[in-house]
Amino acid sequence: MAKNEIKYLTAIKQEKPKKKFCRFKKYGIKYVDYKDIEFLKKFINEQGKMLPRRLSGNSLKYQRKVADAVKKARQMALLPYVTDLLK
């Protein structure tokens, strides 16, 4: 019997997924500016909805602040409430 015939029941993961991090904590950003639309666009999807924490990697403290900033930007018509093909 050849040695390379070993089979596994479940496939072995070759690469570990990259660990997500909170960019606010890493870069020391203390204030989320609602006027900086280009920055806020990193946290919303094409339809203008907020990305969940599981995708953005934000800590809860800063996810709340981002949410507040996005909502303020929407009120002042800097960001749309609903849209398609934002990016």
């Binding site: 870069y27 609602y34 006027k35 929407r74 018509a77 800097l78 960001l79 409430y81 849209t83």
Partner: protein, 132 residues
């Protein structure tokens, strides 16, 4: 005990807070009208015990969605300090003003004040933090 609390309360009223105001004027406004409106509200803040920190007229900008059937607006951002009582007075003025389509007053915490200060002086706090 109650008098002590009262004193504390009276002191708190005197505390000056940092605020940021954003106003969207109607796009039919002329340049001179825009400037006089800015002056009017800065004077109004001064009369009510506040002071302007920085004024930043963005000018004509397209809106993300139509407001009052208009697709553009003239933006004005003002950073000011003042007692907490100033906001209600300002709000009344804004709602009476027909030139104003929308307004928002945000309270700034200490990090926001720092951020605005650095941004005004040409630096970006994000990059500074990355270097450190």
């Amino acid at each position: 005990m109650s008098t002590g609390k009262n004193q504390l309360f009276n002191q708190k009223i005197q505390v000056m807070n940092n605020y940021e105001l954003m106003v969207i004027f109607t796009p039919v406004l002329s340049e001179d009208d825009f400037k006089s409106a800015q002056k009017k509200y800065q004077d109004f803040i001064k009369e009510n015990g506040g002071d302007t920190v920085a004024s930043n007229p963005w000018g004509l900008k397209s809106l993300a969605y139509p407001i009052d059937k208009k697709t553009t607006g003239i933006y004005w951002v003002l950073e000011f300090t003042g007692p907490a009582t100033i906001n209600e007075k300002l709000k009344v003025q804004f709602l009476r003003d027909e030139q104003i389509m929308r307004h928002m007053i945000t309270k700034l915490d200490k990090y926001a004040v720092e951020y605005n200060h650095i941004k005004r002086n040409g630096g970006f706090p994000v990059h500074k933090a990355q270097e450190a």
